[in-house]
Structure formats: structure tokens, C-alpha cells
Amino acid sequence: MSNELFRTCPESGLQFHRPAERLMKAHAVVAVVILLIGGIAALLVTLTRWPAVHLLPADRFYQLLTTHGVNMLIFWMISFEIAILYFCSSTLLKVRLATPKLAWVGFTLMLAGIIINNLAVASGTASVMMTSYVPMPANPNFYLGLILFAVGALIGCFIFLATLVIAKDEKTYEGSIPLVTFGALTACIIAVFTIASGAIILVPTWLWSLGYINHIDAAMYRVVWWALGHSSQQINVAAHVSVWYAIAAIVFGARPLSEKVSRTAFFLYIAFLQLASAHHLLVDPGLSAEWKIFNTSYAMYLAVLASMVHGLTVPGSIEVAQRAKGYTNGLFQWLRKAPWGNPIFSGMFISLVGFGFLGGISGVVMGTEQINIIIHNTIYVPGHFHATVVIGSTLAFMSLTYFLIPTLFRKQVAFPAIARLQPYFFGIGMSVFALAMMGAGTLGVERRHWDMAFTGAPLGFEYPASAYTMMGIMGLAGMVAIIGGAMYILVTVVSVFFGKSVESESSYGTATTRLMRAEPIFIPEGGHSAAGKWGFAAPGTFVLAMFFLVTFVLYYAVNWKYLASVWPLS
């Protein structure tokens, strides 16, 4: 290995392969620009769904909703994830990235795909929503952009895998790959499956839009599309769980409670998460109940079990690390004394709690075969996934950014006071936003709908006043979240492009950088349970987990009760 190709970050001790570093930066920068575009669309879309404002005309609304969905869910998430894959392979394993040239080809394809798709939507000829259900036609470039992006992302996945192979060959690490890299590997495997499904459905659809194929079955399209659409959410879950583990390690020096459990849980993702495309098809015609039940429950909820395990082991490992540092009073001193002013930690913790309580519970409930009847396509659904993919994944990625700015970009974090508050604005705003959407959805308000007052319709319907209140709360809370998003973009862009470089300071010990700095790696002494209670290494976390379970059980039961009140169907 030639040494000029590597640099060691004096703060974190991480070793960066320079070509890999440039790629990570490029992917992260593109991701943040996309987030900005998606965020502007979010602002306008939210202001339209807020009944008191009702800003845009219908055509613009649907156009911008398409822009928002595609950019956020596909382009922002996956671009950032490719940066994470490179970080978890090249940086964490201290190895050169396989074929950086090819990686740039992948990057270029992704960027080209993003531009082509966005131009198609901007032209007004592709307002078909990210799902682009056939036979509603879109400009062929809409599909072409997605295909190019997917091919680029696939190249990124293979480079990640090849880098793992190189690291093994060159013996750059001893024993097994780190847990976080294992989590990234999980994400990568799911991504390969996902992208394959995407190709199976999007290539024919593109040919259909060009007139080379004359019919695509509308039900079959939905089945295959959701094999792409649902499993791509599992890429996000595997990625953000890895980020949680990484942040627990970075901020607290936490080690997993046990490697075996955490890795098995990731393995359950690989084994079962590709199922569950049925979540989206529970009320589609003609699919058998047996298939729906098996698929929607990921074969008996084994992947849900895995998430519940991560939900315990991540905070549990933090608790153990904190207790080992002497925060052993009562059940929760470890949590009270956590660095709540450090956005790397606070964002990660809000992400974890929000993902579990709001996203996780609502997801399992609405993914129950029969309960879906009272939820399908209501605004409850975006309420659920803003809790998973925004509070869960997006906020986790934002938190990680505050670590990457000084280590990867070698810049001081600009506006530290804003950075400190950002996770709270974004996380709390989004939580209220998601809850209000779920509330409105329970009252029957529809998703992807321009006007809940049905202006101009020959027949009418009036939602109860409470539904309007919920949508108003959604609008307000959405604005808080948008401010949180803007704070993130401000801090990131100013730090990266105009920030003081870390080297320009004589020492790293300035207040600005110390906020963002990792605590030194800490190895707890005397094994796990030494500092715990009841023989539990992490008793506080266990109590939190039981609280989660009780909430889950109650909410689940309430929804069955609600379902029992609707018209008998068979």
C-alpha cells in the first residue's frame, strides 16, 4: 500500500483512502443538493395540503409531489447510502477502494439519472408520482432517469463488495468485519435484490412508454414495483441501523452487547426483509389471503423481531458504556447525562425513538392484513413513512453528517449553535407532523389528494372538523420540520464550502470542534452486567423497551377494535 494514498484523521484516527474520500464527498454533496430540491418541494406541497393555505393549483401540486417523492425517497437516500457504503468498506477497513474509476462511472450515471428524471418531471409530462402505476403514462425519460440511476447505484454496490474482498485478501483487519460494516453489507445485499426488481419492472415500462411493448398488466406491475419499492425501504433501515451503531461507537465508544445477537438480527433482515411487498397490496384484487399474511408479516414477523432487537441493543450498548463511565445512579442517569447538546448523539437518539415508536408501531399495525382496510391510501400512510424514512433514516444521516464534516471534509462545523438545535427542530417537528397525518388518516383523509374539500366535484363530501384541525397541525408542524431541514442544509453547505478548515486552527481543541468530536474509545471493565441491575447489563433500556411494548400492544388492540366497527366484509 502506498502511503500517500491514505491520510489519517488526527481527530478520529480514521484512515481515509484519498480516491475513496473524493467519491464519498461527491456522493454526499449530491445527496444534500437533492435534499434541498426535495425540501423546497416539501414546503410547497405541505403548504398546499394545509387546508387554510391551499397554495398551489392541482397540476403543480401533483407535479411537485412527484418531485418530492422521487428525489427524497430514491435520490437523496440512495446517494447518501453509497457514500456510507464506501465509508463502511474503505474507511472502516482501512483499505483502498476497489476501482475508483469505475466508481466514478457509477457516480456519473447516478447524476445523469437524477438530472434526466428531474427534467422529465419539471416539463410537466411526468406527474405520475414516484410509483408511476401503469397504465397512467409518463414521459419515457422519467423511467430512463430511474434506470440510469439504478445502474449507477448497482455499480456502487459491487464496488463495496469488491472492496470487502480486497480487504480480506490484503488482511487489512483481523477476524471479522466490524458490525457496522456488516450492517452496510446487509444494506448492500438488499440493494442488489431491489435494483434487480427495479430493472425487471422499469425496463419494460420504459419500452412500453416508447411504444415497443403494448401492454403491461396493471396488477403485475404493482406486485413487481413493490418488490422494488418496499425492499428499498429495507436498504434504508439496514443503513440507518448501522449508522446508529456507528454513532453509539463514535460518541460513547459503545461496543455491541453481543456481536452474535446484533449480527443475527441483521441476518434476519437479509433473509426476510425482501418480503413484505404485500404491505402495499393488502387490498388489491385477487391475491390470496395466505400469501398476503405470510408476506406482510415477513414470515411471522421475524424481520420486525430483528428491528425490535436493534431497538434494544443500540441504546443498551450506550447504557452499558455510560454505566462503565460511572453514570450508574438509578435507571436513567446514563441517559440524562448523555451529550444532548451534541447533534451527532441527539439526532441519532431522536431517530431511534421516533423510528420505533412512530414508524415501527404504525407500520406493523397498518401492515396487518385486515387492518389495512381502514388505512390503505389514506394520509396515515405518508404519516407512517415520514416517521420511518425521515425521522429514522434521514435524521440518522443528518447526525452522521456532523461527524463527517470535521473528519471527512476536514472543516469545522459552522454555526454550532444552530447545529445543536437542528435535530430537535427536525425531529420534533417531524414527529408531530407524522402523528397529525396519522390522525387525519384515521379520520379518512386521503393521501396524494389536492383538495379535501372537493371543490368543483359534482357530488360532495364533508370531513369532520377534527380532520381539518389535524391537517392544520400537520401544516404547522411541517413548517417546523422544514426549518429544521433548512438549518441542516445551511450548516452543511456553509461548513463544507465556506467553512474554516480544521487544519487552520492550531489545535483541535476549540469549542467548535470539540462539540463534534468523538469521545475516546472506551472499553468497559468487568464485563457487561457489572454496573447494571437485576443481572441486566442495561436495565434502563429494558424498562424503555417494556414501555415500547405496552404502547405497541395497546395501539394494536385499538386498531382491531376500530376495524371491528366497520361494515362486515367477506
Binding site: 477476524g175 461507537a249 461496543r255 425490535m308 379518512g444 396524494r448
Partner: protein, 183 residues
């Protein structure tokens, strides 16, 4: 070592489980199984289950069946567009179609009676969302879905389209009127 470093123990898979993890895994597994068995349980003991009865169809064939029902059972028309309101006999096959941008025809059903409600789309995907009772299903062109439904509340229900279907999506409404038994 920490989660971003290779595990300290070379044979980490032999490391014993911590009690907190073991306990939680046990609890979570039991809960997962309960949730799983709740679904088949409801198929047997619950009243709200979607049948998987569905047929392939074409817009022309489906339109013909719907038209025949409308011709036979229309009892009045509504709005300036003369939308037919159809009152099919209890127990019969009722046809509802979704198209850009209406649910056609309007229906009048009797409380407590059971109907076989067929629904299909003439063009794109639509969403059948019956409010305020809150029943939601996906309507896909080329497929005819059959719901066996027993209205158990009387009054006016509105069918709202809840799958995006183009610029007129928000105007796509229909009605199901439920009358008290025996008229």
C-alpha cells in the same frame, strides 16, 4: 472493540448472550407470534375480511354488465348530469365502476342485507375509499374485484377516489345510500 472495529474476540459467536438481550428476544418473539396468528384468527372469527375473489375482465365486458344493472334497477337520477341511482335487490350482484373521474352509478342498498359488490376500473388505477365508514381498497384496470358486503349503518356514504388518477382525482366521488330495512 466498538461497533466500527472488528470484534475483539476472534470467535465472537461463542460469546454468551446477555440476560437483557435474551429476555427481550423472548418477549419480542412471543409478541411477533401473537401478531402473526391474529390474522388467520380474524379470518375465522372476525367479520371484516377481504375475499380474494377477483376476475380478469375488460372495460367493455365490465361496462356491459354495469349498464345492464343500471337499465334494470335505476330508481331516480341525481345532479344536473342525471347520474342514475340504482337500487339492486338484496343478495344480488352489484356493479360499480371507476373511471376518470367518477364512480358510476350511485347505489342505494338496504341496511342489514348482503350484496356482492363488484368493482373495476375502466382506465387507470383508482382507490375505493368509503367514508365515513372507512373501507379502502385498490381498484385496478383489467380486474374485477368482488366484495361481499353487509351495510350495517344507514345513511349516506361517499366513495372517494384515493389513488392518484390525474388532474381530476379530487373530484372523483360517488355515493352509496343505505336505507333502513323494508324501505
Amino acid at each position: 472493540m466498538s461497533a466500527i472495529q472488528p470484534p475483539a474476540e476472534l470467535v465472537w459467536w461463542k460469546q454468551p448472550l446477555d440476560k437483557v438481550e435474551g429476555t427481550w428476544i423472548g418477549i419480542a418473539l412471543v409478541w411477533s407470534l401473537i401478531m402473526f396468528f391474529m390474522m388467520p384468527f380474524w379470518h375465522v372469527y372476525g367479520k371484516q375480511n377481504l375475499s380474494s375473489e377477483a376476475y380478469r375482465t375488460t372495460p367493455q365486458a365490465y361496462m356491459a354488465k354495469t349498464q345492464a344493472m343500471v337499465d334494470q334497477y335505476t330508481i331516480r337520477t341525481e345532479t344536473s348530469a342525471q347520474l342514475p341511482v340504482v337500487r339492486p335487490p338484496p343478495g344480488s350482484d352489484v356493479y360499480l365502476l371507476g373511471r376518470l373521474w367518477q364512480w358510476w352509478p350511485l347505489l342505494e342498498l338496504e341496511k342489514g342485507q348482503t350484496y356482492r359488490l363488484h368493482i373495476s376500473s375502466m382506465d387507470w388505477n383508482h382507490g375505493f375509499s368509503l367514508q365515513p365508514v372507512n373501507i379502502n381498497t385498490q381498484i385496478i384496470p383489467g380486474y374485477e374485484m368482488v366484495l361481499t358486503v353487509t351495510p350495517d349503518t344507514s345513511g349516506e356514504q361517499t366513495i372517494i377516489c384515493n389513488e392518484f388518477c390525474g388532474i381530476g382525482h379530487h373530484t372523483m366521488l360517488g355515493k352509496i345510500y343505505v336505507t333502513e330495512g323494508g324501505r
